[in-house]
């Protein structure tokens, strides 16, 4: 009941945002933030649930963006179809990672990083398809059943809609047989196998789902920015997505949302600090992560506990747990 109220309030705030902040530039930033939310939710499934440290999410993001842009630009494919195909293309490309899913920890991170670099080089060098370092220009605005999402505000609502759907989808997955299997794998592989879970299969499926999310985020980005350049999809972007997840709190879906908002909006907010802004942002990230392992999402219960403890210690005599020490 309480969570339903929170949900309505949060959705209400997101819906109200573009009416409160009507500046086109800020609407653009908020769109990028919502796309970041989708990316972070995908990575949360990998890192937070299955314990798979991927530094290659930007590769799937890039694949989705380019597939969607090329389909609409060159072949005049309708946006909705290009959008879905972008997700499918990214998901299929994640199958290339199947041979390496059994790698652990930092090895897996480095392998996915390598994958990211390869995809970046492909985007950069296959000019015939991707436009190379010139990038792809004039990507059309999304058009669904004749309605063109040309204005910043309509684009914002499209991104919001997709982000909400992805959030609800992830929530269903986390609380399902699939999600439990992922959590089990991350906590004890031997015990998970003894329960009948095929480790490699489930890790591969997890990559597939996260890649699909990154792919559709890429599609949104392509049609929102209207211009693509390979430099948007370097491993820097992958690390940015990882920062979102860690700052927000590993294993928490609301955390992924908050983390994405902070990572995208904060540097823009600090823009008035000029050259200092990235340093300030870095300090903030370190502070947020160092504050507590659970990130921002982990803070709420701690604060609650603190409050409860204060009350106990104020009236120790009334404690029902008296008796001999």
């Amino acid at each position: 009941m309480k969570s339903a109220v929170v949900r309505v309030l949060v959705i209400g705030a997101f819906v109200a945002a573009p009416f409160v902040q009507t500046n086109g530039y800020w609407l653009h930033v908020l769109c990028v933030a919502l796309i970041g939310v989708i990316l972070a939710l995908g990575l949360q499934l990998l890192v937070g649930m299955a314990g798979l440290l991927s530094l290659g999410q930007a590769a799937f993001y890039g694949i989705g963006a380019y597939v969607s842009a090329v389909l609409t630009l060159r072949f005049g494919t309708p946006f909705l179809i290009a959008f879905v195909l972008a997700g499918i293309a990214a998901a299929l490309s994640s199958l290339l990672l199947v041979p390496i899913v059994r790698l652990q920890g930092s090895s897996l991170a480095v392998a996915t990083l390598g994958f990211n670099i390869i995809i970046y080089l492909v985007l950069l060098n296959e000019d015939w398809a991707t436009g190379g370092s010139f990038g792809l220009m004039n990507v059309p605005a999304p058009r669904i059943f004749g309605y063109v999402f040309a204005s910043d505000r309509s684009m914002y609502f499209l991104c919001l809609l997709v982000a909400v759907i992805v959030y609800l989808a992830m929530e269903r997955l986390v609380n399902s047989r699939f999600g439990r299997a992922l959590k089990a794998i991350s906590q004890d592989e031997d015990a998970a196998r003894a329960c009948g879970i095929s480790i490699d299969l489930y890790k591969s499926k997890c990559f597939l789902v996260a890649a699909f999310a990154a792919g559709i985020a890429g599609s949104l980005y392509a049609h929102q920015a209207r211009y693509l350049n390979p430099n948007d999809f370097t491993f820097n972007k992958s690390i940015e997505i990882l920062i979102m997840v860690v700052v927000g709190g590993l294993g928490s879906l609301p955390g992924a949302v908050i983390g994405a908002l902070i990572v995208v909006v904060m540097p823009e907010y600090l823009r008035s600090s000029g050259e200092l802004r990235l340093i300030l942002f870095g300090v903030l990230v370190v502070a947020l992560v160092g504050f507590r392992r659970g990130g921002i999402a982990g803070l709420a219960p701690v604060l609650g506990q603190r409050l409860a403890q204060t009350r106990w210690s104020r009236w120790p005599k009334i404690s029902a747990r008296g008796g001999p020490q």
């Binding site: 989808a169 269903r172 997955l173 399902s176 047989r177 699939f178 999600g179 439990r180 299997a181 959590k183 089990a184 906590q187 004890d188 031997d190 015990a191 998970a192 196998r193 003894a194 329960c195 009948g196 879970i197 095929s198 480790i199 499926k205 789902v209």
Partner: protein, 279 residues
């Protein structure tokens, strides 16, 4: 009587060490079969071989008449072999009931698509496994702890939770690896009762245990391992009186035991085990 589990010359070497050597035994359907022996006798390795967590060097394992070959543990779990671990292997950050629900993984089908769409079948399956998990928790006596995070349960309850996770799937065979380790006398007594109830539910049990009182009260048959070899097997009464068993646990007076001849003796039994072993 038919053998549910049979091993033939089962051998597992780690480098030069023969952890399990030429062990042939059979576990009868419906029995509680004990596997005992001093530390390092190869009991846990034997369980790992049966559950598939370790591959044998040579020899064969037959389950219900079928050669398990190189079948991976997740498929053996599906075939009806479940286990617990010596050093608690719970999913510590999940709740007790979630742990038990994971135990039903091999018995359920819902895929990503079904969960996303919340199909009728998936909803029904979720409700079913939650109910089965609750029953299993109640069966081991943890009905009140369903929503407690596994890692924060008291030690004895964590042991029980592992058994609930293995039992929930109603397997043919449960391998219990030292379920009494760290339990106090009263808890160990209750464990014996639980083992009898699991048996009554039609599940065959293979029990590795150091706690001799538990072994003697719970088991129908016992196999004794020593240095990876089968020393003997028989009923609890036979084992109690077997001179070789006492020797394996306590050693002989002069130290000129059989095992001393061809091996360097690095593992002597602890006083604790000796106390349990002494009839």
């Amino acid at each position: 009587m038919t053998a549910l589990l049979r091993t033939e010359q089962l051998t597992c070497r780690f480098g030069g060490l023969v952890a399990v050597g030429d062990v042939s035994l059979s576990v009868q359907t419906g029995d509680v079969h004990g596997l005992i022996g001093p530390n390092g006798a190869g009991k846990t390795t034997f369980l790992n071989l049966v559950s598939g967590h370790i591959r044998q060097t040579s020899g064969a394992i037959f389950f219900n008449g079928d050669d398990l070959g190189t079948m991976p543990p997740e498929r053996r779990a599906g075939a009806g072999i479940r286990r617990t671990f010596q050093n608690l292997r719970l999913f510590r950050e999940m709740t007790a009931i979630e742990n038990v629900m994971v135990g039903l993984h091999a018995n359920t089908q819902s895929e990503i698509f079904h969960s996303l769409m919340r199909t009728k079948k998936q909803m029904l399956e979720e409700r079913n496994i939650a109910e089965q998990a609750r029953e299993s928790l109640a069966f081991v006596g943890l009905a009140g702890s369903a929503d407690v995070v596994a890692g924060s349960l008291p030690y004895g309850h964590q042991r029980l939770l592992e058994i609930a996770r293995a039992f929930v799937a109603k397997p043919r065979l449960i391998l219990l690896d030292e379920p009494a380790a760290g339990l106090n006398g009263a808890e160990a007594g209750r464990l014996v009762g639980l083992i009898h109830r699991i048996k009554a539910a039609g599940v065959t049990i293979m029990l590795v245990e150091h706690h001799m009182e538990v072994v003697m009260r719970a088991c129908d048959r016992i196999t004794v391992l020593n240095y990876g070899k089968k020393l003997t097997d028989g009923s609890p009464a036979d084992i109690r009186d077997h001179s070789g068993v006492i020797e394996a646990y306590l050693g002989t007076k002069r130290g000129a035991s059989r095992r001393g001849a061809d091996r360097h003796d690095t593992q002597t039994s602890t006083p604790m085990e000796a106390r349990h072993a002494a009839p």
